[in-house]
């Protein structure tokens, strides 16, 4: 009897979680999509964003989001892969047991703290040594690169660990060194997991808001260099939603729908690649 009640309760909770996800999805699209039809795709994907005067172009923000995401990957992939390879292949179990949780802890630091570190250390550093305002694509890329490390490291690490030992032995059996084994065999064998980790990291970078607002400068234009200030889709949502009304508000929801689609797409790709449910 008690079991029955517990089962029903759990079922109810599970369903309400799914239901709220569906409701959120529906709400965002229902609020945003009509505006896109109203103003037309050419307006929506132009570079001119002046939502109070009927210009709803989000292209410069899309480019902004893509630039900081690409920058984050440039920073995050080499460091993340190097970490994962070191942990999985070159370190002893006690080191693995200490380092992996520490890296995963990086994921638990609130993004405002990352933004704060960016403002206090990185932005002045860039301003003094490279020029420009300091609040820049570069600053956002570096901070985001660090923020996606835990995702890339832990998924790539798991993928490397999942490569059966018999492959390693087979490689050593023809005289390969450890390093050759990693590069020529283990990375290709773990490729799908690694790619999935990178894609999930990418989703994180695109969706990140607080840290980016704090260090990217948020200027509404297409950046011409890594030192220019930049505004992303998420920044726009967070900065403007507080006071937006009418079509402006709808346009922000349209932005949100667009982001939502990108992130769902990235997750679907990641799931497809790893073949896991």
């Amino acid at each position: 009897m008690k079991d029955k009640i517990a089962e029903k309760l759990l079922l109810f909770i599970a369903f309400s979680a799914i239901l709220s996800l569906l409701l959120i999805t529906f709400f965002i699209f229902q609020q945003g999509i009509p505006l896109i039809f109203k103003v037309g795709l050419s307006n929506f994907f132009s570079t001119h964003w002046a939502p109070t005067r009927g210009n709803f172009g989000i292209l410069s923000m899309i480019i902004g989001s893509l630039m900081v995401t690409a920058g984050a990957l440039v920073v995050g992939i080499p460091f993340g892969l190097a970490c994962a390879i070191f942990l999985a292949e070159f370190s002893s179990p006690p080191i693995q047991k200490t380092l992996k949780p520490i890296i995963e802890l990086l994921a638990g630091i609130p993004s405002v703290v990352y933004g704060f570190i960016g403002i206090v250390i990185l932005v002045p550093f860039i301003r003094e040594h490279f020029g420009g305002p300091g609040f820049s694509v570069l600053a956002a890329s570096i901070i985001l690169g660090i923020m996606i490390l835990p995702t890339i490291v832990s998924i790539s690490y798991d993928a490397l660990l999942a490569v059966p030992n018999t492959y390693r032995e087979g490689s050593y059996a023809v005289g390969a060194t450890k390093w050759q084994t990693v590069v020529m065999l283990l990375l290709p064998a773990a490729r799908s997991g690694i790619v999935a980790g990178i894609i999930l990291g990418m989703g994180r970078a695109i969706g990140e808001t607080m840290a980016v607002i704090m260090i990217a400068g948020n200027a509404l234009k297409i950046p011409h260099s890594m030192l220019d200030s930049v505004r992303t889709l998420t920044s726009t949502l967070a900065l403007e939603l507080g006071y937006a009304t009418g079509d402006h508000r709808a346009a922000l929801f349209a932005c949100g729908s667009f982001l939502f689609l990108i992130i769902i797409l990235l997750n679907i790709i990641a799931i497809k690649i790893t073949g896991r449910k």
Binding site: V174, G175, A176, T177, M184, A189
Partner: protein, 249 residues
């Protein structure tokens, strides 16, 4: 005499897995190692290409000479040893890359990158294991798409591609059906013209069919080592006799 061990002992931590093993393995013969499961056959085999180095807390005493050189001496080139002494594993471990890349793996490790040379080596190695004709149109396919027998052939081809001298085979047919087993046995007899083969098997019939010399192991000891004919018809040790007549194991 290509391999010679003297007073070989091996410990996994405190557990002694090999006890005072003395044997001599002759060139261009098939040497079978038989014995019940857990008696140390794989451990012995993995001594010859120092595969046990990968396991923590393994301690080895005694001497193991290959071509009169001590392979555990600090100046011995481990990588060269592994190339010279290839190993086929119990479960065919074809790599999850293309058939071509599997065979080209060793040569690439050894620095060969010229496409024409690689193609030549791959074709020659696959032909040596009678695989080339049946899969020559599928070299780009994943090696994981092959049957178990073909995978095992491919693994042997992968070794041959780096031109070893000695082939170690650890129960190479245990994942195969009887027909495939027969074919791999034929292949081994063919290969012994050019290579020295040591095969671990717990299948006595197999040892009787293909081995020239046979060693019988029990609880880490090499009980008896002699020609296959002698071991199977007239063993010296009572324990060997009991094992081959199916009393235990």
């Amino acid at each position: 005499m290509i391999i010679k061990t003297a007073n070989l002992n091996l410990y996994y931590d405190k557990f002694q897995a090999l006890k005072n093993v003395n044997l001599s393995i002759k060139e261009n013969l098939i040497t079978g190692i038989i014995g019940p499961s857990g008696c140390g056959k794989s451990t012995l085999l993995r001594v010859f290409n120092r595969m046990n180095d990968l396991i923590k807390n393994v301690k080895i005493t005694g001497s193991i000479l290959i071509d009169k050189k001590d392979i555990y001496s600090p100046v011995y080139d481990l990588i060269l040893l592994r190339k010279n002494v290839g190993m086929v594993f119990q479960r065919p471990n074809a790599f999850p890359i293309s058939i071509f890349d599997n065979v080209a793996y060793g040569p690439r490790v050894w620095g060969i990158s010229d496409k024409k040379t690689l193609i030549e080596i791959v074709e020659r190695s696959l032909a040596a294991v009678d695989l080339f004709d049946s899969i020559k149109d599928r070299l780009k396919d994943s090696a994981l798409s092959l049957s178990a027998e073909k995978k095992q052939r491919l693994c042997i081809a992968r070794l041959l591609a780096v031109e070893p001298q000695i082939l170690l085979m650890d129960e190479p047919c245990s994942a195969l059906d009887p027909i495939a087993t027969g074919k791999i046995e034929e292949l081994m007899i063919e290969l012994k013209k050019k290579y020295t083969i040591i095969i671990v098997t717990h299948n006595m019939q197999q040892a009787a069919r293909i081995a020239d010399d046979v060693g019988f192991m029990l609880l880490g000891e090499l009980i008896e080592f002699a020609s296959a004919k002698k071991i199977f018809t007239n063993p010296l040790d009572k324990r060997t006799f009991e094992y081959i007549s199916g009393r235990f194991g």
